[in-house]
Amino acid sequence: MKKAVIAVTVLCWVPLWGQQANAPDLAAQNTALEQRVRDLEERLIAVEGKIRMLQSTQAPAQPAAEAQPAASAAEPVPPAQPQVPVEPAATSPIQGQSPVVNTGGNLPNYGGASSAAKALNPDISVIGDFIGAAGNSNVPPLATQQPFPSLQMHESELGAQAIIDPYARGDFFISFGEEGVNLEEGYITFTALPAGFVAKVGKMRSAFGKVNMMHNHVLPWVDRPLVTTNLVGGEDGIDDAGFSLERILPAPKGIFLEATGQVFRGDSGDVFRAESRSDVSTVDHLRGYKDITESTNLDLGFSYARGHNDATLSDGSFGEFVTQLFGIDATVRWKPLRRSIYHSFVGRGEFIWSQREQLPSDQHAFGFYTSGDYQFGRRWFAGARFDYSDRSRYGNLTDKGVAATLTYWPSEFSQVRGEYRFTHYAENRDSHEVFMQLIFSLGAHGAHPF
């Protein structure tokens, strides 16, 4: 009985106590509720983030433990779960690998939206290069210059690029001319080697100077300089199957020094020709770079290439003749950071010496170009180039020329360029030509190295 009374008394008091507490507590309850809403909001944002990351890395159903090759357009992201490995090299293969959809350079691109649908596809791009030409080309028979026809779909470059696994990425560039198809480049890059090495294996444009590395659509001109066509194989250049190893070297503070060593089969246009398996060619490149100010920088390179050439003995068979090329390239860039999208200047020059063994006597040739390109508006560029070059097979024949260009970008994905070119050939022939070029790009094309 006593217990019951106490219980009833307590029960009666509970609501009273509750009422008393109610008034001052209302605010506190509200705050607590608001806090809960905020917490939920935070959790929602965190979950959304995780979903975004998962979508962009899209684990394939199987094999579950294998690294999945690139998702598509998405920025890469490690899954949000804690990653155990702390060791530098311990890139866990379970972590999602993602696509490096890079773009930029001259014609940057973005990947599509439906990343999930294309999760495992590489980034695919096509770049069209249309050239129209007028004027007299008047190319002498012994000259190396290839005249452009009046109207030509000069090149359609198909790019397919993706991260292969946590240790490597792959890049393919297949160029379609109007008739033939050519593997311009196709290589794997090992990005996770020890001691800072980066290796490439496949077919690639060799690291001889600057212009040799450039695809047509990133050139600052419609054509290539005379020295490139006369001494370094022209449009295709030294572009061969082999492997490449590069590493950043220790250097005084603020200086970037990088060495590249490459070994190729030894077949590159009219520069190198391999008759036997031992006729491999090599290309070595040393690059130094320094920021002079935050807007101005200087880039210097030294190149050396050696390989067997196509010179024949008197009986018509190939001799063991060797071509050696020495090159110096220099680039000055200026781009004020606050107005970087409006104004810039690039000055370039390459100086190349060629020593070609052949009968009856070895040929020594020298050539260079210098050029300047100024960006005077967000979409406008003007440039000029001076050319001078001997011919590798006839060291005593010298061609000279000048060119002027005007470039307009309707957007970042297309480019219209006009070029006037004057060439004075060694045979005392002159040519005056005008070119119009239209470059347009589809899809996600990787940014080209600086």
């Binding site: 490995p85 939206a113 990425r169 996770a192 950043i248 190295p449």
Partner: protein, 305 residues
Amino acid sequence: MLTTKQFVLGVIAAALLLPPWAAAKKLSIVTATTDMAALTQEVGGDRISVDAIAKGYQDPHFVEAKPSFLLKLRQADLLIVVGLQLEIGWLPPLITQSGNPRIQVGAAGYLDASQFAEILEIPQGVVTRAMGDVHPLGNPHYWLDPDNGRRVAKGIAAKLGELDPPDSSYFQERFQDFDKRVSAAEQKWDAEMAPYRGRKVVTYHNSFTNFAKHFHLDVIGYVEPRPGIPPTPSHTLDLIGLMKRENCKLVLVEPYFDLKTPNSIGSATGAKVLVYLPSVGGEKQVTNYFELFDYDIDLLKKGFQ
């Protein structure tokens, strides 16, 4: 001629001669932008060293992939990116060339900070280039909301603790402290901005969305007809008409854009044209995350008065 054997031996010799990364005492961190560096510095304190690639007054969409950045990247233990394809035009080749396996995409030392933040304007449906440089994953200028700053700082603190477990409680403490300071600052900022709730502004590029959402401003248009596409006369005329109809009196311009078109819009509509800072370091005196908001809110207050 180099034989294969010589080549392999050369590689091994070089690898032995040049010892791999020495286990650094301080975590070395590189961030894509100054804002990520500022947040990292807040939680990392003196146990880390942090460097940003892009400058605060530079358009983060168009940064040159200079080799000098590789010198920083090759040593880095952690690379923090803004993500959402903001750096897509310049960062990927730098990562590939860095020769640093730790910061490769997907490795433990690669952190995409966008995963922690509230992302606005994620396009629905098909994205094409006819829309300009639209970011298919959402608006990447998310750090201009202090709540996102807090979220990103929390994520970075967790990542730092993961890479440097002995210091993980230190990073957590620093985050708690940052959290408190941001909350206090937010109260002040919210109060300062409260009188201007719902005010209409125009910005040059679509970089103001998160700021506008947090402080309840209304961005009614952009000087760019589409993201990344320079102003056109017809769009400018449309914008002037819109601003007159909506009685919009403020044009905000990022420090890396030309002021010619904004100024002519200003004189046609009577609107003020102000250069606002989207990033830490946009002006010399703005050296951390708090000063960024102080600067912009001061500017807006003057603009609205």
